[in-house]
């Protein structure tokens, strides 16, 4: 197994990643984890131990809704999908994350800004 340096997920970012993943359509827990891992080029590893509590937390808040459906392999699985509130929340969190990333960039690389 390749020992690539994996990034620890920062507090609160998992919710945003889950919401963004569900924007493409309903998915079950395992698919969500794999999607995040694949899309981040294996840099982000979603721990199962934090994924499921996060899913249930988001469901409790009403940002995502769950229903039991049969997966493409014919097995019963709990599929999560984004609700209207969740969609709004995603837009909200996304813009918050963007300004946070920009602010971090400004402080960490002050030279870049002065040069441009």
């Amino acid at each position: 197994m390749k020992k690539q340096s994996r990034l620890e997920l920062m507090q609160g970012t998992l919710d945003l990643l889950i919401l963004r993943t569900l924007l493409t359509g309903p998915a079950h827990g395992h698919a969500i984890a794999k999607h995040i891992q694949r899309t981040s080029e294996d840099l982000l590893q979603v721990e199962t131990g934090s994924l499921y509590p996060a899913l249930h937390r988001l469901e409790a808040r009403g940002w995502i809704a769950a229903s039991w459906e049969t997966s493409n392999k014919g097995k019963r699985a709990k599929f999560y999908r984004l609700t209207a509130t969740g969609r709004k929340q995603l837009v909200n969190e996304h813009s918050k994350w963007r300004s946070f990333a920009r602010a971090m960039g400004l402080v960490l690389n002050p030279g870049d800004q002065e040069a441009s």
Partner: protein
């Protein structure tokens, strides 16, 4: 607030929720094992690897359960404290609210106990059925109405 009611309903159907969580995690394990198997592991090795990656199953279940119940209680306490703070911050309003509630409840109780004793219970006399109500009407045509008398 919606979250509150959802958790309340979850609290009621807790047993079903737990069975569902078990099934959900079981499905996750199967998927993970299948993936390992596709990558060339033997089926028992794949299952073992899936379990290893999932970590402590009981701990995970506990953490999910904590989301259902403990957060629910915590938020309930938070809501109550928030309500208390808001009431303290707006003393006049809360006093008026308490006062109107007290008056409303008091007046209702008084009225209903009065009605109860008057209409529903028979009067404490020897023969309640023989009681009659007397009504007196005085016709004030010749004497005029009382207002006019006062205005003079």
């Amino acid at each position: 607030m919606i979250s509150f009611f959802r958790k309340l309903s979850w609290l009621v159907q807790r047993r079903r929720k737990e069975a569902e969580l078990c099934e959900e995690l079981q499905f996750h394990l199967e998927e993970e094992a299948q993936e390992h198997q596709d990558n060339g592991l033997r089926s028992d090795e794949a299952r073992f690897a899936a379990h290893r990656e999932l970590g402590n199953m009981t701990l995970l279940q506990e953490n999910v359960r904590a989301v259902w119940i403990w957060r629910f209680l915590e938020e309930l306490i938070q809501d109550l404290r928030y309500a208390w703070r808001m009431m303290l911050g707006n003393k006049i309003f809360s006093m008026l609210a308490v006062l109107s509630l007290a008056l409303g409840i008091g007046a209702n109780t008084a009225l209903y106990s009065f009605m109860d004793s008057i209409l529903l219970r028979s009067l404490p006399v020897t023969d309640p059925d023989s009681l009659v109500i007397l009504q007196w009407h005085s016709c004030g045509v010749s004497r005029g109405c009382p207002d006019r008398d006062q205005s003079v």
